[in-house]
Amino acid sequence: MPSAITRSDAAVSEPKGSLLERLQNSRNALGLLFMVPAAVLLLVFLTYPLGLGVWLGFTDTKIGRGGHWIGLENYEFLWGDDVTRLALFNTLFYTVVASILKFVLGLWLALLLNRNLRMQTFFRAVILLPYIVPTALSAIAFWWIYDAQFSIISWTLMKLGWIDQYIDFLGVPWHARLSVIAANVWRGVPFVAITLLAGLQTISPSFYEASAIDGATRWQQFRYVTLPLLTPIIAVVMTFSVLFTFTDFQLIYVITRGGPLNATHLMATLSFQRAIPGGALGEGAAISIAMVPFLLAAIMFSYFGLQRRAWQQGGRD
């Protein structure tokens, strides 16, 4: 196909004609011209800051004061810093638990929606709501739901007689960790469910008919038909999910601000706290950069780990 285009291009852009005319039909010149707006914005506001972030991590820059090169000092300090270590643990715990829950619940919801339901489009539209409203605003609703004195969850459990006093959702470290994970799962399940549903809908019903004729049970159909065919899309969806969970900021910032006793601080919220209110830009940048290897490892794991079965679909191992 591209060769056909090239040939017709060559035919049209014969030397005659003005410079403008030739420019309009030269693929390279026009291609670069078309790339200019996007490229300029991304180079100035994405590529350059990324490099700058790496450099800042090696300096002692403060807000309003240029920094000096201090080598690995920031990283050495952070390695010995208890709060940073705790934040790293929290981030890993948060990512692993929330991603697993989002995957299990999301897949379940997708399978439910994939049944022949009445009002399927209605359900699909309603379920996506948590994903589309501003996270900072729904986080405020969760903050209110988790309020120590007026929590609706505590009220309901009290009335049911399951607990004798209000639960301090955000005041106890482990309660707080699990509460923010619940809020994250609430927000992330719709994304996983709807994208997996799109994957499920591409599986041809004839596979299920064939397996039913061969006497496969529901579980066997799920295990040997649905799951292998869904694996590629699961890999991509979970890669995105892990990426967004690992770098989450809004939910924590709004619901707990990292408290109690730094128990819910993630790397992202800690880097914000150190860099912006704390003014230590260099140190904050170092925390951000320290996230990158973990992020790459998480992406590699969820992407390649889940795609390993590519050979089953005729690809190479």
Binding site: A4, S8, R27, N28, G31, L32, F34, M35, P37, A38, L42, V44, F45, L46, P49, L50, L52, G53, L109, L112, L113, T121, V126, L128, L129, P130, I132, V133, P134, T135, A136, L137, I140, W144, F150, I152, W155, W186, V189, F191, I194, A198, G215, I233, V237, T247, F249, Y253, V254, A268, S271, F272, A275, I276, L281, G284, A285, S288, I289, V292
Partner: protein, 291 residues
């Protein structure tokens, strides 16, 4: 065994599958829908509750006895909320249209002009899409400061495209790929320029893609938090999510009523737009993770 049970369904099979279906499909689904929607209900009911009902443990908290517009009134007339609404709208609309325009050109160049190195540029765009704002905001704050646009709406309008352009370009590349090459070849033979092809052939055919990318980009900018929190400090320039979180949460007594009203009013515009374009939205979301 499995075969046997399939061949011998019990006599009351019809009824049994029906109750079974209710328990295995509709009951879990109802629980999912309840949990996913409850925070919105709670947001709405709280915004209309008078303070004495909010702060009492008596009565049924799931309902409101004396609904009041006090919180919404306070929000609209005693805080900068209308200003934040305007800021959010302005920043979202401008950055969405700017990103969409830049993305159309970029996607057309990468996918259709196929200049040398287009494939590598396409890959770079995808990688840019994977860069999370939470590792970019610190150096970006320093760039914004150097450019002298700290604490202005322009700072947000110029930084939002860092996540909007990669997303829109990636989505539009997929749409452009689905338009047959033959249409372009015919136009080229008829003497159309590349510009004419883009405007008169590709764009009209890619309208669904443009709508998907546009409303998705609008929602992403409306919901953006970390850049708006970092690059803006004056109250009259804040966006809704940042304004509600930083300005309404002051002092020891939380004004839950107006907080919830702020959250509700800030969510309504995106929910409203979303309700009209659900299909485009879903196709944008699923399209962005494919390939």
């Amino acid at each position: 065994m499995a075969q046997e049970s399939k061949l011998n369904p019990s006599g009351m099979g019809f009824l049994e599958t029906r109750t079974r279906r209710a328990f295995t499909v509709y009951l879990p689904l109802a629980v999912f829908v309840f949990v996913l929607l409850f925070p919105f209900y709670w947001m709405a009911i709280t915004s209309f509750k008078p303070d004495n009902e909010l702060l009492s443990r008596e009565g049924n908290p799931f309902w409101v006895r004396n609904p009041t517009f006090e919180h919404i009134h306070k929000l609209l007339f005693e805080t900068s909320y209308p200003q934040w609404m305007w800021n959010t709208l302005l920043v979202s609309v401008v950055s969405t249209f700017a990103s969409l325009a830049a993305s159309v050109f970029a996607a057309y160049a990468i996918e259709r002009l196929r200049f040398s190195g287009a494939r590598h540029v396409g890959l770079a765009i995808f990688l840019a899409y994977l860069v999370p704002p939470s590792i970019l905001f610190i150096p970006l704050a320093s760039v914004v400061f150097q450019l002298g646009i700290f604490d202005t709406r322009l700072a947000l309008i110029l930084t939002y495209p860092t996540f909007l352009i990669p997303f829109c370009t990636w989505l539009l590349m997929g749409y452009f790929r689905s338009i047959p090459f033959e249409l372009e070849e015919c136009a080229l033979i008829d003497g159309a320029t590349r510009w004419q092809i883009l405007v008169k052939i590709i764009l009209p055919l890619a309208v669904p893609g443009l709508i998907s990318a546009g409303i998705f980009a609008f929602t992403l900018s409306w919901n953006e938090f970390i850049y708006a929190l970092t690059f803006v400090s004056s109250s009259e320039i804040k966006t809704i999510p940042v304004g509600v979180v930083t300005e309404l949460v002051e002092g020891d007594v939380y004004h839950w009523g107006s907080l919830m009203a702020g959250a509700l009013l800030g969510s309504l515009p995106v929910a409203f737009i979303y309700s009209f374009f659900v299909e485009y939205y879903v196709s944008g979301m699923t399209g962005s993770v494919k390939e």
